[in-house]
Amino acid sequence: MSLTFLLRRGGLMVYTLAVVSLVVFGITQVLPADAAVMMLGENATPEALAAVRERLGLDQPVIVQYGRWLAGVLRGDFGFSLRTGQKVAPVMLEALGRSLLLAALSIGLMLLIAVPLGIVAAVRRGRLADLVVSLMSYVGVSLPEFVTATLAVLLLADWLQLLPATGYVPPTEDPVRGLKHLVLPVLTVSVILVAHVSRMVRSELVDVLHADYIRAARLKGLDARTVLFKHALRNALLPAITIVALDVGYLLGGIIVVEEIFALPGVGRQLIVAIQNRDLPAIQAGALIMAATYSAVNFLADIAYAALDKRIQYE
């Protein structure tokens, strides 16, 4: 991997974060006619409005407001929550830990299910197994998280009473109950991802299985298993790395909904609570953390892809 590639890709991530920070700040603090009135409502007392204006520096020019905010963000300081009065950053950091746990478990489960499904569908292309997998993926991508979550709660928590419907117990405190509370959220988040990724693995693998070098491997008498696992799969799964990274966008959107439904106190739920309470500093922090996570994951995925696939190093 060349240094220029690293630098260009890194520069791109910095540019992305700069644009995102401008957009987030613009939408939340600059575009509202009067952010203080928006937050406190029409009936707020002039003193309360003045206090909020001073706290957020709303009386300053926009550039100064943005500069101050960005300087704070770069030091890891997102200001104070208007709802609780606490510092936003530590609360968000704690929430981020829970969200990352949910995301990691979901991606793990997704890979365990989606890759084998995609392989089966590709190997048995046009047969019953392929049809079943592709039907499942159509249904999967068409179920919004709130529908999956609600139906899962109805079935597994309300009727069968197998799992708790909502709530969160830190797995470090009580591993068994903690994991039980995580089962439904992880299942829900995984559904769309499994549907998406299994379809991608299938189509990549179908393409690779038609390549000349696979025919050559077959013709020189290698058995089907070796051809599939030693020759085809490696090249089919490489592009999947970047696709999974792009899916992190869906994942983050899904996490917002799922955390809200299952009352799991992660970044997504913090963000929804902040939006409902018009808590600007918390909205800004939540949105920025999510977008930063997404671009960081895609940065790492591109680097990993370039490191694993020597062909693209000069791009």
Binding site: P144, F146, T150, I256, I272, I275
Partner: protein, 274 residues
């Protein structure tokens, strides 16, 4: 055109997708006329009913007929999602085509910015815009439209650039055709097709996104019979009547599947070689 339709209907995805989308379209057009009950008619004596001859899908916590609410709510869900997608597609097409036309550094700058915006998940983007505009069905529509714009811009640009490089466009230039003729007769038909495919698939995302916003209380407001809102309201009563959440959920999923299948069917019908 009829050849295209024939190819579309011959594939299973295309046929099923067409059927579901046609049914959805009819419901959007005539649902309020055909609905057996008023979607907001309260019948306190007929609450939480199971499906029966009078109420095919049962009733909700106020005794409102669920089937009627679904039929009337099709407009609040599908028509809104479709409009939002159309807005996003149009805005994206303008940005994407402009970027492709300008080329060079301007193209680079626009596309890097579009990429940066794509790193904000659609739902988060829509949430931020609703937060700015205030919660209502119309604002949710605008939010979904804006959230879709960067993605559509990227797709339009890549399609326009690919078409521009085709031999038949160069041939038309070599023949000395006017720019207007080349853009309208040679490029447009080939640019529109992939965009229509992408738009069809995006309608299914829009249905889901729009219903999600309403579910979170940030889109359509009660007592609107919006499907996502119906699921949200039904959750409190799920142990009294599961139908209140199951039917609207199925409706959302069915419409989303329909548009997905139609989009894939269209893609295959437009590219007969693959």
């Amino acid at each position: 055109m009829s050849e295209l339709l024939g190819r579309l209907l011959r594939s299973p995805q295309g046929a099923i997708g067409c059927a579901i989308v046609a049914l959805a379209g009819l419901t959007v057009a005539f649902g309020p006329l055909l609905a057996p009950y008023s979607p907001e008619g309260l019948y306190p004596l007929a609450r939480y009913q199971a499906p029966s001859a009078e109420h095919w899908l049962g009733t909700d916590q106020y005794g409102r007929d669920i089937l009627s609410r679904l039929m009337v709510g099709a407009r609040a869900t599908i028509a809104m999602a479709f409009t939002a997608t159309a807005i996003g597609t149009l805005a994206g097409a303008v940005i994407g085509t402009t970027s492709a036309y300008l080329g060079g550094r301007a193209d680079e700058a626009i596309m890097r910015t579009v990429d940066a915006l794509l790193s904000v998940p659609s739902l988060l983007f829509a949430l931020l815009i609703v937060n700015l505009l205030g919660k209502s069905a119309f604002n949710a529509l605008i939010a979904v439209g804006i959230a879709f714009t960067p993605g559509m811009a990227r797709i339009t640009r890549s399609v326009a650039l690919a078409v521009r490089k085709q031999d038949y466009v160069n041939a038309a230039i070599a023949r000395g055709e006017s720019s207007l003729y080349i853009v309208l007769r040679e490029m447009m038909p080939n640019v529109i097709a992939p965009i229509v495919v992408e738009m069809t698939i995006r309608v299914s995302f829009a249905v889901m996104l729009f219903a999600t916003l309403s579910f979170l209380g940030l889109g359509a407001q009660p007592p609107a019979p919006e499907w996502g809102l119906m699921v949200a309201e039904g959750r409190k009563f799920m142990h009294l009547s599961a139908g209140m959440i199951v039917w609207p959920s199925l409706a959302i999923a069915a419409v989303a599947i329909g548009f997905n299948l139609l989009g894939d069917g269209l893609r295959d019908a437009l590219n007969p070689r693959t």
